[in-house]
Amino acid sequence: MNLRRTAAIGRKELIQIRRDPRSLLIAVVLPLIQILLLGYGARLDADHIPVYILDQEGSQNSQALLKGFQASPYFDVVKVARNYPELVRAIDADRCKLGIVIPWDFSERLGDGRPVSVQALLDGTDNNSAQLAEGYATAVVDSYANRIQLDWFSRHGLSQQATVPVSVDYRTWFNEDLESKNFIIPGTVALVMALMGALLSSLTIAREWERGTMEQLIASPVTPLEIMIGKLAPYLIIGLLDAISCAAFAVGWFGVPFRGGLGAFFFTTTLFLIVILGIGYMISVATRSQLGASQYALLVTLMPTAMLSGFAFPIDQMPVAIRVVSYVVYSRYYVSALKRIFLGGAGINDLIPEIIAMAIYAAVIAFFATRAFRKQIE
């Protein structure tokens, strides 16, 4: 490899980028818009779950339970339904996710110690929200039940019984308030960078083919590897700028903690960018048509990063075969590194497996990209 030739290509690329301030602006502003949208939109916290309540009894007791739901920050009691069909329609039409039915013999059963079941009709289509809603609803009912019981014990002179035998104390590490933004946003940085990288690199190559300047480059003594490195290096710098601004936004705007080392962040981001720029480069060299490049670039960036990287869906809950597939998804390593840097406070030493995986990936991609390039010329 000849450094001077590589640098010459890089310099040319930088000049072209500088001459085209609109593209540069897009390259810097678009990722921020994406982070902003995804940061606000990609959340899993189930608060303000819409609830309909059907109180068949309408007693003081049932009202007390109802108040429990109204007081909970997790629920929005949209309406107290008049009858069962109204409740059913509301769930069908997606007006509420949870319907609580307090039976007509609620107080009577409480009084004589027969077990009472408060029904929770859940819209199970979104199983995750349903599960969270069920958890919160159980907590409301349990706390009501505890109060009733303690009350009952004291009224019957059994105050020595009037304690809750076991209480659970939680200590949450890394994401103390269990806010989904802290879990999701580091991953969105990876998602945006994957799109950005593939886009930048495939566009620069397509342009070169179209203007016929690629033939010119090939005719010169520059080797395929030099062309690739020279062309991609400037975009690596842009990509790093993007990543920094995305991360700054995540921390400054959305308040995601950043506990790890800056060095670890730069190092893993650089590695990831090399991989993704290389992939974009390989795609556009191999397809040569912009439509093809865009199809394949979408195919290997957006969905895999969103679905198989651990960005939102936990990899350890996937079937074994899919877990194996996820090892091929380059973003998996970056997402894992980002989460551990942001939340876990990891430094370079803690991220050796991720770093090795991405380094191997980068080497493999570089090999295939230069090979595809040679084949394309012949």
């Binding site: 949208l37 209480s167 200590r171 979408l298 679905m307």
Partner: protein
């Protein structure tokens, strides 16, 4: 007029037939994606690995701990001897949860005092953590209830039957086992279609503009409307074929029930395809080069996919963001898909979504045609 549109359609299909890449992209990846992502998209929380520290070594502590592994929700992966080991475990391994029972647990219980179960949670994945915490609460609460009844039974057996008891009986509708795949398979169908259709249509017109054939077509007596139609119908048919392909594979493979009326779904599919074609055409008429179309497509699709309610509930978004999702065709289609697949509801419930899609389609197509007229200049 029909003849001119017909010619456009035939031409598109001949081109498609010649394009090996395109044919491949339209058939193989959608099926593969359906199968892989159908499995990958899961928020289920099962067999969560837990670490256990039991300083008490009592009957009671063992009883409580065994309840955790009994359900299948949790799996005791590690027995620790002291807390120091925790530091290198939580956050460093795949164990997100540790239970700690301090010395004197059983003694406190027997004295009628409140005993404490300490839970250390790795909050990095807040979703898994929250659901796991929910399970922990349920188990601990059940243990508490049982213990209290037992305790009372020993003192005054006669009173036990009179202690008030309330529990929540969850009845998940449409998806009684809360199976993640039932929720996500329809979502994957919609997402794959959106990405595919928007991307190919985004190039439809801009590509002809770049090679110059658009100009050649424009000097013929064809009207802008006919041209758009001739460009849209082939992609509509391709999109329709792809939806059917992906939906059939997804439904059969993952055994997702289809309770609704196929005709209602077909109407929804049609409206959704038209609106995505509208998005693609708009991109195609707004952009003057394929590069711009490429970039615009990318930057529409990412938020459209993530902010559709596919995985992240729209109700969890801030108000302003919820308003933005009204512009997203996938948002409506997902409701239609899940409604027809899982809920079996019909037009009486889904009409708002259908109307929204139709309105979106109308606006997008009108703007595209108008933009297209202008862009000739």
């Amino acid at each position: 007029m029909l003849n001119r549109v017909w010619r456009m359609i035939i031409k598109e299909f001949v081109q498609l037939k010649r394009d090996r890449y395109a044919r491949f992209v339209l058939i193989v990846p959608p099926i593969l994606q359906m199968l892989i992502y159908g499995y990958a998209a899961t928020f289920e929380v099962n067999h969560v690995k837990i670490a256990v520290i039991d300083y008490d070594h009592s009957q009671e502590s063992r009883d409580l701990l065994s309840r955790f592994t009994f359900t299948g929700r949790f799996e005791a992966a590690k027995i620790l001897n002291n807390e120091r080991e925790l530091k290198s475990l939580i956050g460093e391994s795949d164990i997100p949860l540790a239970l700690k029972i301090g010395p004197g647990f059983a003694e406190a219980l027997r004295k009628g005092e409140t005993a404490h179960l300490q839970v250390i949670v790795d909050g990095s994945n807040s979703n898994t953590a929250l659901i796991a915490v929910g399970y922990v609460n349920q188990i601990a609460n059940q243990f508490s209830q049982d213990y209290a009844r037992n305790r009372l039974n020993q003192v005054m057996p006669a009173m036990v039957a009179n202690v008030p008891q309330i529990d929540l009986a969850p009845r998940p509708w449409y998806n009684p086992d809360l199976n993640s795949q039932w929720f996500f398979v329809p979502g994957v169908i919609g997402s794959i279609t959106l990405i595919l259709v928007v991307n190919i249509t985004a190039f439809a017109i801009v590509r002809e503009r770049e090679i110059g054939t658009l100009e050649q077509i424009m000097v013929t007596p064809i009207r802008p409307f006919e041209l758009i139609l001739g460009k849209t119908i082939p992609f509509f048919l391709v999109g329709l074929a792809d939806v059917v392909l992906v939906a059939v594979v997804g439904t059969l493979w993952f055994q997702v029930p289809f309770l609704g009326n196929p005709l209602v779904l077909l109407l929804g599919v049609t409206l959704f395809l038209l609106s995505t074609l509208g998005v693609g055409l708009l991109i195609s008429t707004l952009c003057s080069t394929q590069q711009q179309a490429f970039a615009s497509g990318f930057f529409f699709l990412n938020p459209a996919f993530i902010l559709s309610g596919f995985a992240f509930p729209i109700t969890s978004m801030p108000r302003a963001m919820q308003m933005l999702t009204y512009l997203n065709p996938l948002r409506y289609f997902l409701v239609i898909l899940r409604g027809t697949f899982l809920k079996g509801v019909g037009l009486n419930v889904l009409w708002p979504q259908m109307t929204a899609l139709a309105a979106l389609t109308f606006v997008l197509l009108v703007v595209s045609v108008a933009r297209f007229r202008k862009s000739i200049d």
